[in-house]
C-alpha cells in the first residue's frame, strides 16, 4: 500500500505500526527505569555499547533522560496514536457507514507530522547532552535552557508540538466525520459506544490540545528567543515570568488528555461487554451520556495536579469537589457495564477478556485516584510512586488493554486474517495480572513514601527497606515485557500464514462487520448502508425466530417470515445495506 495513500484504513495501518514500534521502545525505556530501582547504579546487561563511560550503568543524566522519554513516548507517540491513529482512523468511518474520513488528506498530513515528531524524539538520542530530561511534563524552569541546555530538549519539545498538531488534526477530522458523514439512518442514538467514546475524546482533542500547543510554543520561545514567560525567581535575569503559569496551561491540557486516552477504551469496553454477553448494552443512553458528562467535567478538574504547587487553598477545595464529582458519571458507566454482563451469556473471547481486564485495572486505578483527588490525602501522597501507580493503572494499563481489546477485535477486519485466539487470550490475561503486579508494587512503594523520580531511592534511610519490594515490582515488569512476545509471535505468524477471517467472525451487527468484507475495499461499502437499528441488536427473539441467529445487522432487513434454512454460520450478506 502506498505511503501517500490517504485512505483511512491505510493511515490507520501506518499509525498502527509506528504506534506499536513506539510502544515497544517506551516499554524498553520503562524496563531501564525498573532496572535502576532494583539494582541502582549497576550495569544493565547489554547496554555497554550505548553507555561506555559507565560500562552500561544508568548515570543520573541518562536516568532523567530515560524516564522523561518513556513518559513522552508512551503518551504522545504510542498510546494516543494507537487509540486514535490506528483504531480511531480504522473504525470511525466504517462504524458510521461512511466511505472515509471527512478530510482524508488532512489525516494523511496528520500522520506525517506525527512521524516527524517521532523521528525528532529518536534523533534526540544521538545528540550531545542527550534527549529531553525535564520530565514528561516539561515543567519550567527545568525545561528552559538554563537547566536543560541541550538541543535534545528543544527537539523533543518540537516533537510534542508535532504530536499535538497531529492529535488536533485527527480530532477535528473525527468530529466532522461523525457529525457530517454518518450513513442514512445512523442517528446519534444508533452509534456504537466506541464511536461515542472516540467522538467525545476527539472533541476534547480539539478543545484542549491547542492549549498544549500554546504552552509548548511559549516554552520554545523561552528556550530559543530569549523570552521569559516561564522563567522567574532564581533563573530570571529580569522580567516577571512565572513557572506556575506553565503548570496551569499544561494541566488544562493534561487532565483532559488522560480522558482522551481512556474514553475510546471506555467506548470499546461498553460495546464489547454487550457483544460478548450477547445482549444489548444496558442503559446505552446513560452510558453515552456518562461519557459526555465525564468529558464535560474533565476540563474543570485540572488543578488537582497543583494542590501542592502553591495554588490558593480555596481553589484547591473547589477543584477537589469537581474532581470527585467525576466519579459519579464514571460509576454510572461502570454499573451499566456490569448490568450488561449480568445474566448475559458471556463469551470469553480475547477482546472480551481484554475489555474485562480494562474494567478491572481501570476500576482499581479509579479507586486509588480518589486519594489523590482529595486535598488532605493528596498532600502526603503527591509526588510519590502512588501517583505513578495510579495513573499507570488508568492511562497505562487500562489504555493498553483497551488498545489490545480493539486490536484483537478489529484485527480480522483490518487484515483479513484471524489471530490465534489462545495466544491472544494468554497475552491479555498475563498482561493484566502483571500490570497489577507492577503498578500495585508502585502503589505500595508510594504509600511507603518513595518519591517518584529518585535516581537512587535507597540513598534515603527511610526508603532502604523498600529495595525488596522494588525488586519484586521490577521482576513483574520484566515478565510483563517478556509476555509481549506472545503478541509479537501471534502477529508475525498471523500476518504470514494466519487463517483467513470471514466477514463477521464475532457474529455482531455493527456496520463494519455486516456490510463490508474483511478487509474492506477502498470506499468501504459497495452501496451506502441504510441503518435501521442500534449497534447491539443481540439475542432479539424475532431475529432468532426469523433468521435463526442471535444477531442482527444494523442495516439488515428483518424478513417478515421465519427463516427457511439459514444457519447461524451462514455467510453474511455483504451488501444487505440498502437492499429492499
Amino acid at each position: 500500500m502506498s505511503l501517500s495513500s490517504s485512505d483511512h484504513k491505510a493511515v490507520a495501518r501506518r499509525y498502527l505500526w509506528s504506534g506499536l514500534g513506539f510502544l515497544a521502545f517506551g516499554g524498553l525505556l520503562a524496563l531501564l527505569i525498573r532496572w535502576q530501582w532494583a539494582f541502582p547504579g549497576q550495569p544493565v546487561p547489554g547496554l555497554a555499547w550505548a553507555l561506555p563511560e559507565s560500562h552500561g550503568a544508568l548515570t543520573p543524566p541518562t536516568y532523567t533522560a530515560v524516564f522523561t522519554t518513556h513518559g513522552l513516548v508512551m503518551i504522545f507517540f504510542a498510546v494516543t496514536p494507537l487509540l486514535f491513529g490506528a483504531l480511531g482512523h480504522f473504525v470511525v468511518p466504517l462504524a458510521i457507514g461512511a466511505r472515509g474520513l471527512a478530510f482524508p488528506r488532512l489525516s494523511s498530513v496528520g500522520f506525517w507530522v506525527y512521524a516527524l515528531g517521532g523521528a525528532l524524539v529518536l534523533a534526540s538520542f544521538g545528540l550531545r547532552l542527550g534527549p529531553a530530561s525535564a520530565g514528561w511534563t516539561g515543567y519550567p524552569p527545568l525545561s528552559t535552557s538554563v537547566f536543560t541546555p541541550g538541543l535534545g530538549q528543544t527537539l523533543v519539545t518540537v516533537a510534542v508540538l508535532c504530536a499535538g498538531v497531529s492529535a488536533f488534526l485527527y480530532g477535528l477530522n473525527f468530529v466532522v466525520t461523525v457529525v457530517r458523514c454518518r450513513a442514512p439512518g445512523m442517528t446519534w442514538g444508533r452509534l456504537p459506544l466506541t464511536v461515542w467514546g472516540l467522538f467525545f475524546a476527539s472533541v476534547l482533542n480539539v478543545l484542549f490540545v491547542p492549549v498544549l500547543a500554546a504552552a509548548t510554543v511559549l516554552v520554545l520561545m523561552d528556550r530559543l528567543l530569549g523570552t521569559q514567560f516561564f522563567v522567574a525567581g532564581a533563573a530570571a535575569v529580569g522580567g516577571g515570568g512565572d513557572p506556575l503559569v506553565y503548570q496551569h496551561l499544561f494541566w488544562l491540557f493534561g487532565h483532559p488528555e488522560v480522558y482522551i486516552l481512556i474514553l475510546p477504551a471506555w467506548g470499546m469496553v461498553g460495546d464489547f461487554v454487550a457483544f460478548f454477553s450477547r445482549r444489548p448494552a444496558h442503559g446505552y443512553r446513560l452510558t453515552a451520556g456518562a461519557m459526555g458528562a465525564v468529558s464535560a467535567l474533565s476540563g474543570l478538574v485540572y488543578a488537582h495536579h497543583l494542590f501542592t504547587s502553591g495554588m490558593s487553598p480555596v481553589l484547591g477545595r473547589t477543584f477537589m469537589v469537581l474532581t470527585l464529582l467525576i466519579s459519579l458519571p464514571a460509576e454510572v458507566m461502570f454499573l451499566n457495564w456490569l448490568m450488561t454482563l449480568w445474566r448475559g451469556s458471556v463469551r470469553l473471547t480475547s477482546p472480551m477478556l481484554a475489555a474485562l481486564a480494562t474494567m478491572s485495572v481501570f476500576g482499581l486505578g479509579g479507586i486509588t485516584g480518589l486519594a489523590l483527588g482529595a486535598v488532605a490525602t493528596d498532600v502526603p501522597l503527591h509526588g510519590t510512586l502512588w501517583v505513578v501507580g495510579h495513573f499507570h493503572l488508568t492511562m497505562g494499563a487500562a489504555s493498553f488493554l483497551g488498545v489490545f481489546a480493539g486490536l484483537y477485535f478489529w484485527f480480522p477486519k483490518m487484515f483479513g486474517r484471524a489471530l490465534h485466539e489462545g495466544l491472544a487470550k494468554a497475552h491479555v490475561l498475563a498482561s493484566a495480572v502483571l500490570f497489577l503486579g507492577v503498578f500495585g508494587g508502585q502503589l505500595a512503594a508510594g504509600y511507603a513514601g518513595q518519591l517518584r523520580r529518585l535516581y537512587d531511592p535507597y540513598q534515603y534511610t527511610y526508603l532502604r527497606h523498600l529495595l525488596p519490594l522494588n525488586q519484586w515490582t521490577t521482576a513483574c515488569a520484566f515478565l510483563l515485557g517478556a509476555v509481549q512476545g506472545l503478541f509479537v509471535v501471534n502477529l508475525a505468524w498471523t500476518l504470514r500464514r494466519g487463517r483467513a477471517a470471514d466477514a463477521n467472525p464475532w457474529r455482531v451487527g455493527t456496520l463494519e462487520w455486516t456490510c463490508a468484507p474483511s478487509p474492506p475495499p477502498e470506499g468501504n461499502f459497495a452501496r451506502p448502508p441504510v441503518v435501521l437499528r442500534g449497534p447491539h441488536a443481540l439475542s432479539q427473539p424475532e431475529s432468532i425466530e426469523r433468521l435463526g441467529r442471535d444477531w442482527l445487522g444494523q442495516a439488515e432487513d428483518l424478513p417478515a417470515s421465519p427463516a427457511t434454512a439459514t444457519s447461524p454460520e451462514a455467510p453474511v450478506a455483504l451488501t444487505s445495506g440498502g437492499a429492499s
Binding site: D7, A10, S54, R105, R128, P149, C162, P521
Partner: protein
C-alpha cells in the same frame, strides 16, 4: 500489506504533498533550532603549569559532564552563581578563583586531582553537594574541565599533597583525647588553641585549671566568652559583578562540633565511597583537614606548625566531640557550659 486483496490503490491525494509539508516544517525547525541552540564549544588543549597537557577531547567531555552535574549550581561560567545555587549557604564554590576548601594541600595552593576527586565522589556532608554518582571514567574529565575556569592552573603547579604521618596514638585513645584537649584549648607551645575560633568545650573552672596547668600562670576568663563563636571572613564570593569579580563574600562560622555537621566527616558506620566508614577513616579525614586547613576560610594549615603527635591528638579529641553530636550527653555538656558562663569565675 498485500493480504487477501487488501490492496488499495493510492487514493485521491496528490502523492508527496504531505511529505513536502513535513519536510518544509522539519527544515524550518532545524534552521531555527540550529541557529539558536548553543553549539557545543570547541576547546584547545589545556597546558597545565606542571607540564601536563589536557587533550581537547577530555575537556569537551568534561564540559558535557559539567553541564549535566555541576552547572545548575556552580554556574555555566564556573563562578558559583548557577540559578539553583542562589541563596545556598555555604555558597557553591566558584572555580574562577582556583580556591578550594578541602584540597589536601597547604591553604592557598592548588589542590591535587586526588583531593578534587574525593570531594566529587563523596560530596560534602551536610551541603547540597551530594555524591553525584559521576561514572569513574567521567570524573577525571570534569576535574580537568574545572581547570579551564581559573588561569592559576596554567600558571602555578599544584601544591604538594600533605602526607599523612603514622598515627602515634594507636591503642592509646584515652591518652590521645587528653592531649588533644590541651592542644585544642591552649595556644602556644606546640598547641593549636582551636577554641580561640571554634568554641571551648570545658566549663569555665576546668578551662581555667587547664590553662593554668599548661601555661604556668593564671588566666582571667571573667571577661571572656569562650562558648560563642564569631563569624569569620572568607574569600568565597556570594555575589559577583558582570566581570565575575567578587563583590560580596560569605562570612563563615567556625563549626561547633557538638552542633554542626562537618563537611568531610560522616557518621561512623555509614557507607562512604563504597566502603564502611570506620572510626579510623573518620580520624584520618579529621587529620587531613586539621593538617591542611580550609582554603579561603580562616582555618590555617597546621601541619608543620605543631608537632605531628598533637595533630593526631587533635583528631582524636575532635572525633570524641563529633561522636557526642546529637546525643543527650552533648545537650548536658552544652547546658553545663552555658551555666558556667553565668557562674562566678574561680
Amino acid at each position: 500489506m498485500t493480504l487477501r486483496g487488501a490492496r488499495v490503490s493510492s487514493s485521491s491525494t496528490s502523492p508527496g504533498r504531505a511529505g513536502r509539508c513535513a519536510l518544509a516544517l522539519l527544515t524550518a525547525l532545524a534552521v531555527v533550532a540550529g541557529c539558536r541552540s548553543r553549539s557545543s564549544p570547541t576547546f584547545e588543549p589545556l597546558k597545565l603549569a606542571d607540564g601536563r597537557v589536557i587533550p581537547a577531547e577530555t575537556l569537551s567531555r568534561g564540559h558535557s559532564v559539567y553541564t549535566y552535574y555541576c552547572a545548575s549550581c556552580h554556574g555555566e561560567r564556573g563562578d558559583g552563581q548557577g540559578p539553583a545555587g542562589r541563596g545556598m549557604r555555604p555558597v557553591p564554590r566558584s572555580f574562577r578563583q582556583g580556591l578550594f576548601k578541602f584540597g589536601g594541600v597547604a591553604v592557598g595552593e592548588l589542590p591535587t586531582d586526588e583531593a578534587l576527586k574525593r570531594t566529587l565522589r563523596r560530596g560534602l556532608h551536610g551541603t547540597p553537594m551530594f555524591a553525584w554518582d559521576v561514572p569513574d571514567a567521567d570524573q577525571d574529565a570534569v576535574l580537568q574541565y574545572l581547570k579551564t575556569f581559573s588561569p592559576r592552573w596554567t600558571q602555578e603547579p599544584t601544591g604538594q599533597p600533605l602526607a599523612m604521618s603514622p598515627d602515634p596514638w594507636k591503642g592509646r585513645e584515652a591518652e590521645a583525647v587528653e592531649r588533644g584537649k590541651v592542644a585544642y584549648h591552649v595556644s602556644g607551645g606546640g598547641n593549636a588553641g582551636c577554641s580561640g575560633c571554634h568554641v571551648a568545650y570545658l566549663p569555665r573552672a576546668e578551662l581555667a585549671a587547664l590553662l593554668e596547668k599548661s601555661l604556668g600562670r593564671k588566666v582571667d576568663l571573667s571577661r571572656l566568652d569562650p562558648y560563642t563563636a564569631q563569624a569569620r571572613e572568607s574569600d568565597h564570593p556570594v555575589e559577583v559583578d558582570a566581570k565575575g569579580e567578587p563583590t560580596r563574600t560569605q562570612k563563615v562560622l567556625p563549626p561547633d562540633f557538638l552542633f554542626h555537621e562537618l563537611r568531610t566527616v560522616w557518621p561512623e558506620g555509614e557507607t562512604v565511597d563504597g566502603a564502611p566508614y570506620t572510626a579510623e577513616r573518620q580520624r584520618e579525614d579529621l587529620y587531613r583537614v586539621i593538617a591542611s586547613g580550609v582554603g579561603g576560610a580562616a582555618m590555617p594549615t597546621w601541619k608543620g606548625a605543631i608537632p605531628e603527635e598533637n595533630l593526631w591528638a587533635l583528631a582524636y579529641y575532635v572525633q570524641s566531640l563529633v561522636r557526642l553530636r546529637d546525643t543527650d550527653e552533648a545537650e548536658a555538656l552544652k547546658a553545663r557550659l552555658r551555666a558556667s558562663t553565668m557562674a562566678n569565675p574561680p
